[in-house]
């Protein structure tokens, strides 16, 4: 009896003294683990959703695969952790995931108050509205007094309120935790309109009961630069993620695809291409990854254009045009810094 009490007191002391390990750099931890823990959307067609074979596919998924290819030479070494809009930030803050590729908007408060760093933008988007054609509404400014279904914990919710306030319109928000609950309620007729990023609208419309009964209103009421994020405190890890994305964009600039990358690696004389593919220079070493990091990304995942067309492009049910997500040389906003 007495020994039990002593043992209990000793255990409490031991717990106090043996402090939990100091969090080491994320890059080392990921390399040691051998897999990348990637936080993704729990079901947004085109960006992060399981396909009919049960494999994860999407624009954000391709980014996770690119980072894994850069680190481990194997794009399959990823553990996908589906997160709702509510859980995503806590999961990243706590270390449950190493990076978040979950169509998250880059904002000041997320960059600072939440303790994150955005490693680039992989999709320039904006918020829009979807309504039934039968309402006869042609513009978002005609939605005075409308009830709008929206997902909680997103910039969407705040932008919606701001837009209605700026235009002195009355708003009746109906706020759900999951995007599919909001979409189902809109489909059942609970709300007049549904709002999310324009790319999400295209994705959600494709799964409604009668997609052709709905139209997407022309107004884009906000800037939504969607990109991957990592925690504060590990700059090297952030560099790896950032340059994985940049490599995909630069590959498209040079016309390198997953099909011709072997040929180009063997034959090209362009110094920047040679530096990128690891034939010359020590770019990989500076990033603390293998020298052929970009080659593996392009070979296993493809360049940005391939990823775009495969997931959200004209041939997919989403039918999204490149729009702002085109290379700067072709009039879009994708402008990656040079690999030098």
């Amino acid at each position: 009896m007495m020994n039990w009490k002593i043992a209990a007191a000793g255990a409490a002391l031991a717990m106090v003294v043996a402090a939990p390990a100091v969090a080491g750099p994320t890059l080392d931890a990921v390399k040691q683990r051998g897999t990348l823990n990637c936080g993704v959307n729990d079901g947004l067609a085109g960006f992060g959703a399981p396909n009919d074979k049960g494999e994860w596919a999407g624009l954000d998924i391709d980014l996770c695969r690119a980072v894994a290819a850069a680190l481990f030479d194997d794009a399959k070494k990823v553990k996908y952790i589906p997160l709702t809009a509510k859980e995503r930030f806590t999961a990243l803050q706590s270390g449950e995931v190493d990076m978040l590729a979950r169509n998250t908007t880059w904002t000041l408060s997320r960059d600072t108050g939440l303790g994150f760093d955005f490693a680039g933008v992989n999709y320039y988007d904006g918020q829009g509205f979807m309504v039934r054609k039968s309402l006869g509404v042609k513009s978002a400014k005609e939605l005075n007094g409308a009830s709008v279904c929206v997902q909680t914990g997103t910039t969407t919710e705040l932008n919606l309120t701001d837009f209605f306030r700026t235009n002195s319109m009355e708003l009746k928000p109906v706020v759900f935790e999951k995007a599919e609950e909001a979409r189902t309620a809109y489909d059942e007729g609970r709300c007049d309109a549904y709002t999310t990023d324009a790319s999400g609208l295209a994705a959600e419309r494709s799964v409604l009961k009668q997609p052709d009964d709905h139209i997407i209103l022309p107004e884009i009421i906000s800037k939504e630069p969607l990109g991957p994020l990592v925690r504060h405190g590990d700059n090297e890890w952030g560099d790896v993620v950032r340059w994985s994305l940049n490599a995909m964009v630069i590959a498209e600039e040079f016309g390198i695809t997953s099909e011709n990358v072997d040929k180009i690696k063997a034959e090209s004389t362009n110094p920047e291409i040679r530096r990128m593919l690891g034939v010359e220079g020590d770019m990989g070493q500076q990033l603390k990854v293998n020298p052929d990091w970009a080659y593996q990304i392009i070979k296993q995942v493809g360049n940005y254009g391939e990823s775009f067309e495969r997931n959200v492009g004209e041939k997919t049910p989403l039918h999204l045009a490149r729009g702002l997500n085109q290379l700067w040389s072709k009039g879009g906003l994708l402008y990656a810094p040079p690999i030098r």
């Binding site: 106090v16 806590t90 909001a182 059942e188 007049d192």
Partner: protein, 396 residues
């Protein structure tokens, strides 16, 4: 012998820690200190980690502007209000649905519990089916079912009818006329309070009279008439101090009047039905716990069956019913947090959901939410324990 050990204790030269009592106190103090040290370490470690990662901490966010709208609020709320006001709106929404659900489920539970003991075979079987079905399916599924079942069957806003120009039930909710109160309306609730006071007085006087003279008094009917008629009389004298604002279809939705959103109705409905199934079983257990001899004796004395239930069975059954009933009420209050699944803006949905996500301060918001639920639950328990003590039978 006693003196010998007493003397031995007082003059003993053995160290003080050989004394069992002192040892006990020392060990308890030590464990308490270790626990306090552990708690302090955890708090310190957390604060340091948050600072290291650049995550904001502290409760200052409660004074920041929220920036989002809430669809159902009992007090006035605009998007320019603070997160602190969001917290209050959330608490009121939770309390509102929980209070009404507690009353509703108790009434329904008592009825179903008694019905299950009925001698009518069909009624008893129907009650059994109801209880077994609702107890054995998860509450979240029931809430979602009622929400989408209700939504799917109600008519569209545009196709809904305005009954008598006053009421409308459609997918956007139950629209009822809203009273706009004149300045001297306060006299009506004042008269209600006076009526309740008079009713209590009448009840006591009638009971005393019955104890002394044996004459019964129709207390219930008199009190009901008092509570209903006195405020009505007051309002008639004052010239009906309110106007009605009727809902009208304008644009997308109805304007004017008050609306009970379908989220609230679905949540209320499912909470009442679910908890009533549990309460029915508790009531049945309580009634069965009273020995049958009591019923036989009461009937032998010539009491009607309804009087037997009210005067003999229920007071004894309540001793068994009240403690588990407290658990059911607490469970119901916490179950109301499932509201997020159907967009009802209760405390968890607006505060531990939207506010947490916008400010990123997970620890502070979850702590506040847990404290609020703890307070509500402790208040319910305290009240039920007081009531339990009050109706406890004092055995000789």
């Amino acid at each position: 012998m006693t003196t010998q050990t007493e003397v031995a204790r007082r003059t003993s030269v053995t160290p003080f820690w050989y004394d069992q009592r002192i040892r006990g106190v020392l060990f308890q103090a030590f464990v308490l200190f270790a626990l306090a040290a552990l708690a302090a370490f955890i708090i310190y470690n957390t604060a340091q980690n948050l600072r290291q990662r650049g995550i904001a901490s502290g409760f200052g966010f409660l004074w920041n502007t929220s920036g989002f709208d809430i669809s159902f609020h009992l007090i006035s709320y605009k998007a320019t209000d603070t997160y602190g006001r969001v917290l209050i709106v959330g608490i009121l929404n939770t309390l509102f649905v929980s209070a009404i659900a507690i009353v509703g489920s108790t009434v329904l539970g008592i009825i179903v519990g008694i019905l299950r003991l009925s001698r009518n075979w069909l009624i008893a079987r129907l009650a059994t089916v109801y209880v077994e079905l609702l107890r054995n399916t998860p509450l979240l599924l029931q809430i979602v079912f009622w929400y989408y079942a209700v939504l799917a069957t109600l008519p569209n806003v545009r196709q809904s009818t305005l009954w008598w120009g006053m009421f409308s039930l459609n997918q956007r909710g139950l629209y009822v006329p809203a009273p706009i109160l004149e300045p001297n309306f306060w006299l009506v609730p004042a008269s209600l309070v006076i009526a309740i006071g008079l009713a209590v007085f009448v009840a006591r006087w009638a009971w005393k009279r019955q104890l002394e003279t044996g004459q019964p008094f129709p207390t219930w009917r008199v009190n009901l008439a008092l509570i209903v008629l006195l405020p009505i009389l007051t309002s008639l004298i004052l010239g009906v101090p309110w106007r009605w604002e009727y809902p009208e279809l304008a644009g997308f939705n109805f304007r004017g009047g008050t609306v009970l959103v379908p989220e609230f109705l679905a949540l209320l409905f499912s909470l009442i039905l679910y908890t009533a199934a549990f309460i029915a079983e508790i009531v049945r257990a309580g009634i069965l716990s009273v020995s049958h001899g009591q019923t036989e004796a009461a009937l032998a004395l010539g009491l009607r069956p309804s009087l037997v239930t009210r005067l003999v069975i229920m007071p004894q059954a309540l001793r068994v019913i009240i403690p588990p009933l407290t658990s059911e009420y607490l469970s119901l209050t916490k179950n109301s947090s499932l509201a997020i699944a159907i967009a009802y803006p209760d405390l968890v949905a607006v505060f531990a959901g939207t506010t947490l996500n916008q400010t990123g301060q997970a620890i502070e918001t979850i702590t506040i939410t847990m404290l609020v639920y703890l307070t509500i639950s402790l208040a319910i328990s305290a009240f039920m324990n007081w009531y339990n003590r009050k109706i406890a039978l004092v055995e000789r």
